[in-house]
């Protein structure tokens, strides 16, 4: 029992904290805790509470003072007439009583993260809309790695290195972790990296510019149980054993505060009354929007099943079959799928399962199995691999071919419906859809970054509610009132489900509702469909999620037409690969032989590539035969291959080199430091020349790095701002560390007017980020200058700068004549830079024409040239044999276009023109880079897509954020190339 003293004034106090996943309760009597309990409630809050109260009655009289807290406790408290107290408020009460010398509290719960600052007025914060680093997140990640949370913790204690993992949201993190797993990175390291992500998220999301120091109290379940997580917090915050406190009552801090709140109540309550209320009939279904049942009766369901049974692959008995066979492996992000086909395309063997965090082992085991069963009867005459783990598996087992996922799926879908024109694949972790036009893959849409809502989330839910996935989806088929849960991110679906349960929805209703959510999410968020016509007439759906009849039914209903779902919906990638292997027409496959398989070993080692400034984290896989496979690098350099791409024009590299070559000089008037972030990537030449002319030394903060980002993250006040803006904080910290005197980032409502748009604004973030920095960063005496300037009229700028220098550099006595000259030089330098960029753009286009190479027009913004922001996409493109041009290098080569939206931002206006350039230029393809959280891109993406598609060009969008992994991007670009090649033929 908890050994703490609390004056209970002769009363019995009960505090119950009903969190998102667990219930925590304490009973305080005779000045001490006489009872405490902590358990998962599996969303059966009422039932579990009755049980709890029964237990409590052994320790308490019937007359008690009781209060409830916690995000899932609100409804129950209202229904039972028990006072409710907000959990952060309760925690603060507890801490004031039990640990009054605390400076900061960090509390992690199931879905919430909280920080309370006690010094200088209590300041309480909870995570906002994006809920990354919480208990649920850790659970999710443990599931992903196929270990229990306890095991994850144990693993994390033996880490050697930390990988950068995007922490904002589970979906992001998965995209970083999955490839690490697939590349064979050590679980110990990944485990610790996950915890580090949680720590970073807590600091970035909640500290918001306040430093966490003094005595820090860590509370909540995860921090009580997870030793590794504690360690990460302590190290990151540089705390020692004295000022990092993990109290014994950590899990119960809210419950204790709740009990203290109960003490303030005037009247006691009777336990028996409350139990009676909890057990009474629930209020009938009310106020929740519902739809009609998925199936009215079994007959309707039967017909549905019969219709879909038509799309089946015949099976052949592997025990008897003799002859050639073809192996297809789909090594997906979370699951590995394997198919063995006979010469008649019959299914001999199939496998579908989680890749257990190590796909190499899974495939090895499956191959052993196949060899054992088939002996000498069967010759594997061809083998092909697809999926995230394509290269790894191909190298490990010497498969004949690798093919990009989209192609594999297309081949498979064609098998069932030769005239297919739309394929939708909803897997465990991702949604993919392809449009097929004229027999080639035309548009590819993937769920990226935020708001997934893919298949695994139904499964996670089913499990959380204590059901298997099959039973859970069956319950949904005939549910009377399927709930409309909306389309939202997984994390928040929990609270919607809680809300629905509060309103009286049953499990079946929720199951059906979740199926609808998945479908709507795919239709409206990923595909952005307006009507069924967007899909064409021949739709094939696949992916494991569609094996769930409830999801399939919802999809057909929402679409208003029937679709084809093959009975091997979950195996389509592998099936397509097997068909591809067959098409290779080989006598026998080069696949690893049974004997070699016996000797097969696999070790993975993490290393950092020092080939360039990117310092990619790589994994070196060594196989038994001495073969090596390196993964995780952004370019080919890490493979020991000299990059043959240096001469191929790459505007991104050109611009980077140009900006970084701006020289420092002896500044007799002092130093001005420029943070190389947001619009500084483009305006650096202007300010550099301007200040240099005036006799200042100009220092740039340099390109971004991961470490630099981490350095500044504690001063970010809004965690939903775009990544390029967040990086700014790191640049400022770096300049301060480097001993800057003055840091300059002017406020510019208006950008350069290029005469191509109705107005020439900057986006609000670029324009006013200086205001935010000034208010949130501790400049430590360094002067931060963010004057409002007009960079369109040199005359105005001169006027404004005169005032500026008088105010901030009065002793320098900088006169008008000097400023005039400086402004002139500044604009000249800017024009020079832009002209050089445009000239290089022309050269690149010419080069492409001569060599016959394709041109990738990257439509982004100036800051996208930073490799930390674009994650090396330009290098990837050149390695895929593209000539890379940037939007600003070609936007002036076409007549300004008119668009259907308000065209009023200079940077975005260039992108429309770049799209026009891509349309007019043969072999030019546009790739739009979109930063997550860029509100203006919500407008540009649709418009640019429309422009391109109306002109029969393929639109490719790449959403980028903190995620460093290029896996999805690679698939994207390779699919693009495949589609282009097919088109050309």
């Amino acid at each position: 029992m908890l050994d703490i003293k609390i004056n209970s004034y002769g009363k019995t106090l009960i505090g119950i904290d009903v969190g998102s996943t667990t219930i925590k309760a304490v009973v305080i009597k005779d000045d001490g805790v006489v009872f405490c309990d902590y358990f998962r409630h599996m969303s059966q809050v009422r039932e579990k509470l009755v049980h709890l109260l029964n237990e409590i009655s052994e320790y308490a009289d019937d007359e008690v003072y009781m209060a409830i807290s916690g995000s899932a406790g609100l409804g129950v408290a209202q229904e039972c007439g028990i006072p409710f107290v907000q959990e952060v408020f309760a925690t603060a009460e507890t801490v004031r009583l039990l640990a009054p010398d605390t400076s900061v509290v960090i509390e992690l719960g199931g879905e919430d993260a909280k920080i309370i600052f006690f010094e200088g007025g209590t300041d309480e914060r909870m995570n906002g809309t994006c809920a990354g680093g919480t208990g649920a997140f850790i659970d999710q990640m443990a599931t992903l790695m196929n270990v229990s949370p306890d095991e994850l913790d144990k693993l994390s204690l033996n880490y050697e290195r930390i990988y950068p993992i995007a922490s904002r949201c589970g979906v992001f993190a998965k995209s970083d972790i999955q490839p690490l797993l697939n590349q064979g990175a050590k679980k110990e390291n990944i485990a610790a990296s996950i915890y580090q992500a949680v720590v970073n998220q807590t600091i970035a999301g909640l500290a918001q510019g306040r430093r966490i120091d003094g005595k820090v109290l860590f509370l909540g379940g995860p921090l009580y149980y997870l030793k590794g997580l504690r360690q990460r917090f302590k190290e990151t915050l540089r705390l020692n054993d004295d000022n990092a406190v993990f109290p014994e009552y950590g899990r119960f801090s809210v419950s204790i505060g709740t009990a203290l709140y109960a003490l303030k109540q005037a009247e006691p309550v009777n336990l028996s009354d409350i139990k009676a209320k909890l057990m009474s009939e629930r209020t009938a279904v009310n106020h929740i929007p519902v739809s009609s049942p998925l199936f009215e009766n079994e007959e309707e369901y039967g017909k549905f099943i019969d219709r879909h049974a038509a799309a089946s692959v015949k099976k052949a008995d592997i025990e008897k079959y003799c002859g050639k066979a073809y192996l297809g492996i789909d090594c997906g992000s979370t699951t590995t799928k394997l198919v063995l086909l006979s010469e008649n395309k019959e299914l001999l063997y199939s496998y579908y399962n989680s890749n257990m965090g190590n796909p190499v082992d899974v495939v090895k085991y499956q191959l052993e199995m196949i060899y054992r069963i088939t002996g000498n009867r069967i010759t594997i005459a061809g083998s092909a691999v697809t999926g995230y783990g394509e290269e790894l598996i191909k190298h490990a087992f010497n498969a004949d071919a690798g093919l990009v996922e989209t192609m594999a799926h297309f081949i498979a879908a064609k098998h069932f419906m030769p005239e297919v024109d739309f394929i939708l694949d909803i897997g465990g972790q991702d949604i993919k859809c392809f449009k097929i036009r004229n027999g080639t893959i035309d548009g590819i849409m993937l769920n990226e970054a935020c708001s997934s809502g893919c298949g695994s989330f139904i499964e996670t839910f089913a499990r959380a509610l204590g059901y298997g996935i099959e039973e859970f989806s069956r319950l949904g088929l005939y549910a009377k009132h399927p709930v409309d849960l909306g389309t939202r991110c997984t994390v928040f679906m929990n609270s919607s489900v809680k809300q629905a349960q509060k309103d009286g929805a049953e499990i079946g209703d929720i199951s059906a509702g979740l199926s609808m959510s998945i479908v709507k999410n795919a239709l409206y968020k990923v595909i952005r469909a307006n009507s069924a016509d967007d899909f064409g007439n021949n739709v094939v759906v696949q992916g494991g999620t569609f094996l769930n009849d409830a999801v399939l039914r919802c999809f057909e209903r929402e679409l208003g037409r029937n679709v084809v779902r093959p009975n091997i919906a979950g195996l389509m990638g592998a099936f397509g690969s097997a068909l591809y292997a067959m098409s290779l027409n080989k006598e026998s496959s080069g696949l690893i032989s049974p004997d070699d398989l016996k000797q097969f070993t696999h070790t993975a080692k993490a290393v950092t590539c020092n080939g360039c400034g990117n310092h990619c984290h790589m994994t070196v896989n060594t196989f038994g035969n001495g073969k090596k496979f390196v993964s995780g690098n952004q370019c080919e350099r890490g493979l020991g291959i000299a990059p043959a791409t240096d001469e191929v024009p790459n505007l991104y590299k050109f611009k980077r080199d140009y900006i970084l070559s701006l020289p420092e000089t002896d500044g007799k008037r002092g130093t001005i430091s420029l943070p190389l972030a947001l619009n500084m990537y483009e305006l650096a030449p202007l300010w550099h020349a301007l200040f240099t002319t005036l006799g200042f030394n100009v220092k740039l903060s340099g390109m971004s790095t991961r470490d630099l980002y981490v350095k500044g993250q504690h001063t970010i006040p809004s965690d939903t701002a775009c990544f390029p803006a967040k990086l700014m904080h790191g640049h400022i910290e770096k300049l301060i560390e480097d001993g800057a005197e003055n840091i300059f980032y002017p406020a510019l409502s208006y950008n350069i007017d290029e005469g191509t748009s109705k107005n020439h604004y900057n986006c609000p973030v670029v324009a006013y980020y200086g205001e935010l920095l000034y208010s949130n960063v501790d400049f430590n005496g360094v002067r931060f200058l963010f004057p409002y300037l007009n960079i369109n009229k040199p005359k105005e700028l001169v006027k404004e700068l005169i005032t500026f220098f008088q105010e901030f550099f009065p002793k320098q006595r900088i006169d008008k004549r000097e400023i005039k000259k400086a402004v002139k030089n500044g604009f000249k330098a800017y024009d020079d830079y832009m002209n050089k960029v445009r000239a290089e753009g022309k050269r690149a286009v010419e080069y492409a024409k001569v060599t016959g190479k394709r041109i990738a027009v990257i439509a982004g913004r100036p800051y996208h040239i930073d490799s930390e922001i674009n994650h090396g996409i330009d290098k990837l493109l050149t390695s895929l044999d593209f000539v890379v041009v940037s939007e600003d290098s070609v936007s002036d080569s076409v007549k300004p276009v008119e668009v259907n939206v308000l065209n009023q931002w200079t940077y975005h206006s260039r992108m429309y023109n770049a799209a026009e350039f891509a349309i007019e230029t043969p072999k030019a393809e546009l790739i739009q880079l979109v930063s997550f959280g860029c509100g203006i891109d919500a407008i540009t993406t649709d418009e640019i897509r429309e422009m391109l598609e109306k002109n029969d060009k393929i639109y490719t969008q790449i959403k980028i954020d903190e995620i460093t992994n290029l896996g999805a991007v690679k698939i994207r670009l390779r699919s693009l190339i495949e589609a282009l090649n097919e088109r050309d033929n």
Binding site: L74, Q86, S451, F492, K525, T720, S749, L772, T941
Partner: protein, 433 residues
Amino acid sequence: MKEIIEKRIPFTKEMKKTHTLLVPTMLSMHFSIIVNILRAYGYKAELLTNSGRNLISAGLKYVHNDTCYPAQLVIGQFLDAINSGKYDVHRIALVIMQTGGGCRASNYIYLLRKALRRAGYGYIPVLSVNLSGIEKNSGFKITIPMWHRMVYAAFYGDLLLTLKNQTLPYEINKGDTDALIDKWISRLAEEMSHKLLRYKKIKKNYAEIVKDFAAIPKNTTPKPKVGIVGEIYVKFSPIGNNNLEDFLLSEGAEPVVPGLVDFCLYTIKNADIDYKLYGRGGYLKVFLHNFAYRFLIKKQNDLINTIKENSDFRPMTSFDEVPDMRKGIINLGVKMGEGWLLTAEMIELIHSGVNNIVCTQPFGCLPNHIVGKGMMKPIREKYPNANIIAIDYDAGASKINQENRLKLMLFNARENMGREIEDVSKPVRNRIK
């Protein structure tokens, strides 16, 4: 390439007779009066009242999901209304406000047209209400007398909003306040159709309204006051903010909502600021804007004085003082979205004794990264008693999480109030003078 540009469907003179103008809801009281002004000038007009999940579904379907939530809601509300079957779709036109500026909100009208085309209603005309004279239509013109009336509609609306919030939480007889609002809305709406608009009469109305509200019997137990600031749509519209005002009322708080006139004044003042900062806009434009600014300030002060003279109600702060309140925290140059106004409003609230503030914004709102969340640190440093919470709204945010965070703010509000009450005895409220 050029063929992708869709022609705007004009609103012709003939349409004025045949078509009904649909106006989205943002502020029900203000907009009810405004709709009546349109009617008085020969338009058929209707204020949309549809709400609920259908709006969001329609919005999600036809608007890019990363676009701000207000765009999804406003467009969703239109489409839901069009789909409802209530209207002859060939005899309606849609009205939308356009403010312009560097915020992506200036794109709503384009996104609306896009959504209409996608939904197969490309032929429905969309009208822009704006001050800059862009997008002219032969059949739709807001004349000077109409603008004049709209100005007073905004003042009436702000007055009713201010008085409602100070009466509703305290009324002894449930329904008194709402009944009084209904009474005045219909009376004011009716008066707007009169040929002559006399300022004397308006001032008399102000006084009568104030007296009427003061006469409603009220409890004197003070309640924690909670200010609401934010992006204009989610700040004002119950659809946008999940009925925030009602929630605060149900939690025993008094909502305090800075009015619409402030936003208009902010927009007008920015012309002057732009001129001073960047030399943009030309002298005449600035002169006209400054003239309008002084005019409105004077009218607002009249309104404030009427409230003071006739009651103990807490009047709105004169906007004349508002721009200076943000001094030392944010510059007036921040002019996109709600810009410096949002920061200034938070401080204005604190100055008028409202320390508890909900800062509302659509998820991912670009200007609010700076002017809302970005300014909380300096505000808290300067005013340690400030109890501010930022709430993000979008189709994916769950109500339960929002309410839990609001509850945290409210718990602290009540506790802080408990402390205050121990110190000062509160005066009796809202006595008629």
